[in-house]
């Protein structure tokens, strides 16, 4: 049989497509739409990793430096003293402020007396 261009086009058009396996649709959907979101995103992992590395490096610096802990403690105490955080008045007013804030947060606002009329 001699095949002409039109014959070939007709035969190609009539050629059935390969039948995909029955579970392919479900597999695709499971890999895309129904794929559970990852618990931790990769950028979050990188961020936490960077912080941990930084913290480890700083700790190592502190531990390895001579008299580092004593110097750190004296610096922190000096800063607290100079800013007045160790003064008993500051501590008292901070306690009052925190108590007031907590007390206000516990208050419940009464409901409006306005009612919605229903037919």
């Amino acid at each position: 049989m001699n095949y002409h261009d039109d014959d070939l086009d007709r035969a190609l058009a009539a050629l059935p497509l390969e039948e995909p396996p029955a579970q392919l649709h479900a597999r695709i959907m499971a890999a895309t739409v129904h794929r559970p979101a990852p618990l931790v995103r990769s950028w979050e992992l990188w961020l936490v990793g960077t912080f941990v590395a930084l913290a480890a490096w700083l700790t190592w610096l502190l531990v390895s430096a001579p008299h580092a802990m004593e110097r750190l403690v004296s610096t922190v105490t000096g800063t607290l003293d100079s800013t007045g955080f160790t003064s008993e008045y500051t501590v008292m007013w901070m306690a009052v402020g925190i108590s007031a804030a907590w007390w206000i947060s516990q208050l419940s606002v009464p409901r409006s007396r306005r009612t919605v009329r229903t037919k």
């Binding site: 049989m1 001699n2 095949y3 002409h4 261009d5 070939l8 035969a11 190609l12 058009a13 009539a14 050629l15 059935p16 497509l17 390969e18 039948e19 995909p20 396996p21 392919l24 649709h25 597999r27 695709i28 959907m29 890999a31 895309t32 739409v33 129904h34």
Partner: protein
């Protein structure tokens, strides 16, 4: 005044175009992507089978193509054809697999066609579709892919050129030669 529906209405059954389905998917409608998969999975799978000559690998390539498309759906250019896009992704995935296969085998690849597609088997096949399919399988890879896309997309040469990342002239030449070889084989 009627209350707004809390539940999304089902997608209108017959003619929702691909662009609307993509927009709905991006808006969080998983069923819209499901509809896109239903529309194109067969064609994508067909392209993968014809290119890779391995049904298991073709299945994986099809899944990979849809997975990549889903992840990159927000980069899909409005106005472009989804079919061309998904075929391009699938074809690239198949090319990667073929390259990997070549690397593993170390030498020129024997096509992993099904064993029944040899010349003897070809002669035995009486049915026209089977003969044609076997003849396509016998074509060199570059011609086979062009003829497969021609089969899938019709006479949209520019779309075929986009998928294969080839100049339009090359696509037409490949198609001409592929048809010539097919005619030769089928006329025997």
């Amino acid at each position: 005044m009627g209350a707004a529906l809390a539940v999304d209405p089902p997608l209108a059954a017959p003619v929702v175009d691909d662009q609307a389905l993509i927009a709905a998917t991006l808006a969080g409608r998983g069923d819209a992507f499901g509809e896109l998969v239903t529309r194109y999975e067969r064609a994508v799978y067909h392209l993968a089978v014809r290119t890779l000559h391995d049904r298991t690998e073709a299945e994986d390539a099809t899944q990979e193509a849809f997975f990549k498309a889903y992840r990159a759906l927000n980069t899909f250019r409005p106005g472009a054809k989804f079919s061309t896009w998904i075929f391009t992704i699938c074809y690239r995935s198949c090319c990667d697999r073929l390259t990997k296969r070549k690397r593993l085998s170390g030498d020129e690849l024997p096509d992993r066609a099904d064993p029944s597609a040899g010349p003897e088997a070809l002669a035995e096949r009486s049915d026209e579709a089977q003969r044609l399919r076997a003849a396509i399988d016998e074509l060199p890879e570059k011609y086979r892919t062009v003829i497969t896309l021609y089969h899938l997309q019709g006479k949209q040469y520019e779309e075929i050129a986009t998928v294969l990342n080839l100049p339009l002239g090359t696509v037409k030449t490949h198609l001409f030669r592929a048809k010539e070889q097919l005619r030769k084989v089928l006329s025997v």
